[in-house]
């Protein structure tokens, strides 16, 4: 990290602004993110996130990939919740092609997406603990996540880039004893949530560092277009799974946790509660898993009719959307991704002003960004 002292001429000649560069290589920026902080002593007066270090040009690449091939690329946007990325792409294409996925396929999709939500929030829990200084919850979170990744490995063959949810359904039906393993995982993780609450959520030192820090008001959140747990932490009850249900979510009973103050602790708490709700959803889905086909009849070469479609869903980080323009050929004409982390990152410039340097890490961690999504 380098520092420069820049003397800005102005009314108050004795003020000097220092610039601190929270560089792309730093243990606490989750990925390659550069934030340039302008400080007056201990207090931050402005910040600029500098992104683009992980830009891979996936929207341009999509113009030369067929629709099934794009699934492989979609895995790599928000790499911590690849199932959601796959699902949103399939929803967009199915909307264009007016495809109806059978019940079993929809339920399987929901199970996978919710398991992925738990895995993604576990990563948030672990890394946020490390940012605040507690090293042990990270290991606990990853131990639980290993079990989820083992489940995913059995069903799709990979641990991070699944390519499991396909256009028209899923890649393949569940292997033999998968449901049993999934249930035993759910039984394993329920007491762990109690432990996490004792270890971090109710820890007075943790609360001391996150309560009242980085407050994001309801109005600001709505005006910036923030979605996901960040928005729900500020008191707005908006969850795509309840408000615009997709893929059969309207059949499941679960609650949407909403925070009160919009500070870091609320955003953290919303994510922990969401993990518990996801467990409920998965249990309901496993109990009522319909029999039958899991894939719809899809032509060998997928050529959606000319037109455009926008599909969005509730990814673990917010509202992930795909805007797809098709010109009737087998490759899309234009794809645009609405990444939740990119939009959420914009509030960093607002909520950091007036905070002390020691709080920057806590606030940045609580927004929970993934650079693969920010930069695409």
């Amino acid at each position: 990290m380098t520092t420069e002292i820049i003397r800005l001429p102005g009314q108050d000649l004795s003020s000097e602004e220092m610039i601190l560069n929270l560089g792309p290589q730093h243990p606490s920026t989750h990925g390659v993110l550069r934030v340039v902080l302008r400080m007056d002593g201990e207090v931050i007066t402005g910040s600029e996130p500098d992104i683009g270090y992980l830009h891979r040009g996936t929207e341009k690449l999509s113009e030369n990939r067929t629709y099934p091939q794009m699934l492989v690329i979609s895995d790599r946007w928000d790499y911590l919740s690849a199932m959601s990325n796959n699902l949103v792409w399939c929803l967009a294409v199915e909307k264009l092609m007016q495809l109806e996925v059978p019940q079993r396929g929809q339920t399987l999709r929901i199970i996978m997406v919710e398991l992925n939500r738990i895995a993604s929030h576990l990563v948030f829990f672990g890394t946020y603990g490390i940012d605040i200084g507690a090293y042990t919850p990270f290991l606990y979170a990853f131990r639980e996540r290993e079990k989820i990744l083992d489940l995913f490995e059995e069903v799709s063959g990979a641990r991070l880039t699944y390519n499991y949810i396909r256009i028209g359904g899923v890649m393949a039906d569940l292997p033999q004893d998968w449901v049993g393993k999934c249930r035993s995982f759910l039984e394993w993780i329920k007491p762990r949530f109690v432990e996490y609450d004792i270890l971090l959520t109710e820890n007075p030192i943790f609360k001391d560092r996150t309560v009242g820090v980085g407050i994001l008001t309801k109005e600001k959140a709505l005006s910036y277009g923030v979605t996901g747990p960040n928005l729900r932490g500020s008191g707005v009850s908006f969850d795509m799974r309840k408000d615009e249900p997709y893929s059969g979510y309207d059949k499941f009973q679960f609650e949407v946790p909403v925070g009160k103050n919009g500070d870091c602790w609320d955003r953290y708490w919303v994510r922990i509660q969401e993990m518990k709700e996801s467990v409920k959803i998965i249990e309901q889905a496993l109990d009522h898993l319909p029999e039958g086909e899991c894939n719809a009849k899809v032509p060998r070469l997928i050529r959606p009719p000319k037109g455009e479609a926008y599909a969005h869903l509730e990814a673990p980080r917010g509202m992930l959307g795909i805007y797809l323009i098709s010109d009737g050929t087998e490759k899309p004409y234009r794809v645009h991704v609405r990444p939740p982390s990119f939009i959420n990152l914009a509030i960093l410039q607002e909520i950091l002003v007036g905070m002390k340097v020691a709080d920057v890490i806590a606030i940045l961690g609580s927004i929970d960004i993934v650079l693969g999504e920010v930069d695409r």
């Binding site: 601190l20 606490s28 490390i130 090293y135 042990t136 820890n203 001391d208 560092r209 340097v357």
Partner: protein, 387 residues
């Protein structure tokens, strides 16, 4: 409920530990009270020396050199053990195994390998740094700690310098290490390292006050600053109807003992810059710590100093509150080591459970909470002494 299944290698490890404990206990019992053995051996040596007419000042010089070497040896070995133990305890708390490979059985030689690696690293002095300040800082961090070990009673009669002002001497020298930290921050040539060093210095200086004040009730009860006398005042038991119920340790004194112990423990954790008070050396904090620009042997000196201070604080806690050396059956040095390492385990346990306090909250905690309570403690001890 998922029951843990213990594998063959885990059963073997437990077996090895039990065997080591058994062998260790028999050796300890056979050696008996270490100071008596040392006196016996030293008696032979001085007889022999007077026979071949070596002047006595030579003898005392040799004795001093031997004591220094034994202390340095003890510090090195105990620091190596503590680093290995910390890695093992933290690993087992986190459902993993820690070092397993170096040296065979559970990686016991890991710290030795790390020390050799650090010795072989390149010595870098940043261009913007003052080279002499940069070089002297680790020395100033470590040497006061080593000097303090001279006044620490390792058991009955096992004290290198039984000063009348034992506690005062140790606290005074611990204060000198602040200078090492500030020099390290300055000598890095990096504005943010300097700020980190100053913050660490402010933390150290602030937490010295409750540390010293919490010990005052103990001194009031004993009436002397001599560490051996404090340890001796804790021998024996309180009897209820003829049956020994509680050992006479200061930690068991109602309210005053527990309060003093807790304040001393928290202040010691903060003095040694360990989590939850480790803003100075935390990697995930924005501001660089005071030892970021150090590598190789100098870094290992800071490392050594931190763990040596941890053991020193544990030793002081044992002597002041836990009876340091008193206990049935085993010789006193075994009890001292057992109790000290139990307190070291507490230090380790704190580090791997709690998140970090923010700087201003840390300062608020000591000035607004610990210091008033330690004053209250002294008041209460005064009242209890009146009764």
């Amino acid at each position: 409920m998922i029951l843990p299944v213990f594998t063959q290698s885990q059963k073997r490890s437990v077996g090895v530990l039990v065997a080591m404990g058994a062998i260790g206990s028999t050796i300890a019992l056979l050696i008996g009270e270490l100071n008596q053995r040392i006196f016996q051996v030293w008696g032979f040596v001085s007889e022999f020396a007077s026979k071949i007419s070596i002047p006595s000042f030579m003898l005392s010089f040799v004795s001093m050199v031997l004591q220094c070497s034994v202390l340095i040896g003890f510090i090195s070995v105990s620091v190596m053990f503590m680093v290995w133990w910390e890695r093992k305890i933290s690993a087992h708390m986190q459902s993993r195994l820690g070092p397993m490979y170096t040296g065979g059985w559970h990686g016991w030689a890991q710290t030795i390998a790390d020390a050799i690696k650090l010795l072989l690293k390149e010595d870098i002095i940043p261009a913007a740094a003052n080279p002499w300040v940069h070089r002297l800082a680790p020395v100033l961090a470590f040497v006061p700690c080593f000097l303090c070990y001279a006044a620490l009673p390792f058991g009955e009669g096992l004290i290198s310098a039984d000063l009348d002002i034992g506690i005062l001497y140790i606290f005074a020298l611990s204060g000198l290490s602040v200078l090492g930290i500030v020099m390290a921050g300055w000598g890095s040539g990096n504005k943010y390292s300097l700020l980190g060093g100053l913050r660490a210095a402010a933390q150290s200086v602030s937490y010295e006050i409750p540390r010293v004040l919490s010990v005052v009730p103990i001194i009031m009860f004993v009436g002397s600053l001599k560490l051996t006398q404090i340890a001796q005042a804790q021998t024996g038991f309180w009897h209820v109807g003829g049956i020994p119920v509680l050992p006479r340790w200061f930690i068991f004194y109602p309210v005053i003992g527990q309060l003093a112990f807790i304040i001393f423990l928290i202040a010691s954790v903060a003095e040694t810059n360990r989590t939850p008070f480790d803003i100075a050396e935390a990697e995930s904090e924005l501001v660089a710590g005071f030892h970021t620009e150090y590598s190789g042997m100098k870094f290992s000196f800071f490392f050594l100093a931190e763990y040596a201070y941890v053991f020193l604080s544990s030793g002081m806690t044992t002597t002041l509150f836990l009876g340091g050396g008193s206990g049935p059956l085993f010789p006193s040095w075994v009890w001292f080591l057992l109790k000290s390492f139990a307190v070291v385990f507490l230090f380790l346990w704190f580090r791997w459970t709690f998140p970090r306090l923010r700087v201003d909250r840390l300062m608020e905690f000591t000035w607004k909470f610990l210091i008033p309570w330690s004053f209250f403690n002294i008041l209460a001890a005064g009242f209890m002494g009146l009764m």
